[in-house]
Each structure stands twice: as structure tokens, then as C-alpha cells.
């Protein structure tokens, strides 16, 4: 054993940088933060594997679609009708896996 392993040191930013995303200018997922303000569970924040849902100081949720795996976890765990409008990115854009 060599003491601390690589995983304990890598930042989330560096982790996400290992995956290729070809970002289209149009967001394929839109989150209506107004619906989120009175949500007490906020399951998206813990469940999104790309950590794209960030709580804001004023009780809303900030969302960025750019490093999305297109997995579908967020709309499945979300219990607020209308909070997440989910679709796939334009053809040819979005996540590009290589060694998965």
C-alpha cells in the first residue's frame, strides 16, 4: 500500500475532466428553480452523479447541463412536477464515452 490513494486526492472538477462532453449551446435539461424553492427533499443534489444541482443561498437550485451524463436520475428522483424539463441533447452532442 502506498498510503493515500489517487481517489482521495482528485477533485470533483478533475474527476469530471476525465469524461468528454461536446457541449451544445442549447441546454437539453432546464430546471425551474422557482419550483425547487419549497422542495424539502432535494434528492437531485445528492443523486446526480455529475453533481450538477447546486443549492443556492436563497433556497433555489442552480443547474448546469454542460457535464451531464444524460442518465435520467434527476427526473426520476424529482418529486416536483414541472421542476425538471428533460430531453436528450442535439444529435452528436453531449457525453462521449470512450473506455466504458
Amino acid at each position: 500500500m502506498t498510503g493515500r490513494s489517487e481517489w482521495s486526492e482528485i477533485s470533483f472538477e478533475d474527476r469530471m475532466a476525465t469524461t468528454q462532453f461536446d457541449v451544445h449551446e442549447r441546454p437539453h435539461i432546464v430546471v425551474d428553480g422557482a419550483v425547487c424553492t419549497d422542495c424539502s427533499t432535494r434528492d437531485c443534489i445528492v443523486a446526480c452523479p455529475a453533481d450538477l444541482f447546486v443549492p443556492t443561498a436563497d433556497g433555489g437550485i442552480l443547474f448546469n447541463y454542460e457535464q451531464c451524463f444524460e442518465c435520467g436520475t434527476c427526473y426520476l428522483v424529482c418529486n416536483r412536477e414541472g421542476a425538471i424539463s428533460w430531453s436528450y441533447p442535439e444529435g452528436g452532442y453531449g457525453v462521449v464515452f470512450k473506455r466504458t
Partner: protein
Amino acid sequence: MTGFDVVVVGAGPAGSCAATVLARKGRSVLLVERGPFPGSKNMYGGVVYPRMLDLLHPEWWHDVPYQRWITRRSTMLLTETQAVTLDFRTDAWGRPPYNGMTAYRPDFDHWLARKAEADGAELVCSTTAIGLLLDGDRVVGVRTDRPDGDVTADVVIACDGVNSFLAKEAGLFGAVDAANYTLGVKETISLPKDVIDERFGVRGREGVDIEILGGTSGVNGGAFVYTNLETLGVGAVLKLPALAAQSTRPEAIIAALKAHPAIAPLVDGGELVEYSAHLIPEAGLAMIPKLATNGMLVAGDAASLCLAAGIWLEGVNFAMASGMYAAETADEALRNRDVSVSGLAGYERRLDSTFVLRDHRRLRRVPALVLSDRVQHKYPQVTANVVERMFRVDNPAPKPGLRRIVKEERRRAGMRWRHLARDAWAGIRGFG
């Protein structure tokens, strides 16, 4: 783009196999893929079981882009500090026709789609199907996001993956329940080949697949470690409501798995080269939608045909088979000039008479059992404690006897006989 006999949406294993069968039967078939190349959107938990390839591409092993042949298959129970492993190995699985292989899906799926193309299917990538074209209650094609992107076809085969918006639009799913899905998250970790060979006890192109119960930081699900040629796949499969209900994020669950004393020596020093995530339709028969409507069939993950039954974790083979049977059915319906839901009824008959639905029916009780709280949180601990005490030498105290150990550990875990009996019966019925 108009006027195909069949349009297949999604160039994963289901779609490419469907397109191959149809092209060989002389049908005009368009294979639409939203990624820049087939497989670019796909990840999985590690192993392709290739018997269906024998039927479609005999001696496929000469050119398949594989990583390793699985010659060691382990099932591991993890507690916080212990591990119990059942380890099977045979050299026979390292020789043709091979029982299973690891492969990068962007390589494997791409290869399979090129085969369909070579057989005459038209493959169009970078094209997202955004909806169905309907004529009354009949599906007559798909709308894509290309300019003039409507594609008409006599039959649509939706192989558009676990989220299948086409199957949902067609009304084939009832209410979608998050509890039927798990999130798979994976790290691809690079290590030199000789290091992998040494740590996993294999040589040449032999490989190992370790499937794990426990090791998911208390979230119902499972974990895995498997060998590629010069990388490892290390990941967790997490039941969505259980993941959402606690505060540990997916990457932290992988980190804890990699720090476990049974896993750390395998992955130590490896460099993360790719992080990925994907949903898995995990509930088996309970979540399989209607498989056909007028002018349309559903196959692969889009039809929730993934098998997650504890000791069996399969999906690519179910996708390939369902795609092939969907294609045979579509061809038959075109021949009979009846692509209505009754004209397409042969699809379910084909799945019913083969492993696709037979395995799902036989194992219909297993996915819920495997993801149940007792199997997830009690049995690994009790089993590990029993095994630890079996092998621990407590001299000068005499050996306690197995019956006493089991009784004491069962009590310590607060497990009732009737629960044990019920789960044992569910297991016997479920796997029988």
C-alpha cells in the same frame, strides 16, 4: 430521409442486431444513433455474454474489439471490515466459444453497428429521435432533430435505451417508478497490464469479474470490479430511492469501496481515466412494458429487459436477442402485410419461448429479494461473522460448533427465524 421498411432507433446491441437481421432479409432499414458514433452513450457493469453473437456472426471472436475473456467469476460479500468470496475459475472460458468478455462499449457497440452496415443497413449517427410520427393510433415513423428529419417506416423498432422516450410516448409504460431503477457509476482506472495480471491472478487475455453485495455505504445496490486489458472497471449500482434518501454521493460511495481492505490492494495506484454513469432498469419482469403497439416494437433496455438477479447480471445479451427477435417479427409482419399490434404479436411469442422472457419469468422474484433490506444489510454481516468464527481459532476455548455459531450470529443481528425462513423460501422459489 423517407420510406424505409423499418427504422431502428438506437445503435446499441439491440438496435444493431435488429438492423443486421432485417438487412439480411433484404429489408430497407435505417439505424438512427444520437451519439457521434455507436456506443458513445453507453456504459455497463462489465461483461458481454456472447452466445447470441454465435447465431448472428459465427466466429465473431476473430475481430471483436474485446478486452479480456472472463475466466474467473467471483461473487463477494462485503461488510465494513470483512469479505467473503466465492471464486470460480476455468481455463475453458478462455477458449472459443468463450463464455464472457469484458469490452469497452464504445468499441463493442461500434463494431456491432458496423456489422449491420456491412450487411446493408443504413447507419446515421449524430441524430436524435425526438418523437414518433403517428397516423391515428399507428406509429408510422420517427421525427429526428435533423432538418427535414421525419423518417417514415412501416415498422419502428425502439432500441433507444433505458429512458426510452419513444416507448413512453407510445404509451407502452404505465406509471414510471424510480424504485425500479438503479444508478450505475463507474471509474475506469488505468494500471499496467502486468500489475493487473499479478493482482488478479490471470495471464494473457484472461480476465476477472467480481460482483459484490455490500460495499455500497449502506445504499441498497451492489458493486463490481472487473479487468480490462490495461484498466479496471470499478463501480457501484445504487437503488435510486435509497441513494436519494441518504447523504452520500455516488463518487463517495465508489471512494469508500476502493478503500475497503479487500478492494484497495486491487486498485491501489491506479489512475482515474474516465468517470461514467448510466441508469439500469433493474426490477425485471415487474417493470417490463408492453412490447408492441401498432407499427412499433421495443427491445433492449428500452423494454427493461436487463436481468439483475443477484448472481446473474446480464443485459447486452438480452438486448441482442430481443433486437433479433423484434427484427424477425417485423420481417414476418411485413411479409404478411399486417404491422398492427396483432400482426406483431410474434415478438412476445418469440421472447416467451426463449431465455429473454423465460429467464425473467423464472427469476421474477429475485431482483426485489436481492435489493431488499435484509439481503442488503443483514445477510452479508451475518454470513461474514459466521465464516470469521468458523475459521478463527480460539484456543484454549474449544470450537463452538457451526450450529451454535449460526444461532448466536442470527440473534446478534436481530434476525428472526420466520424472516430467515421466508427469505430462504423466496430464494428457493426465486432461483428454482
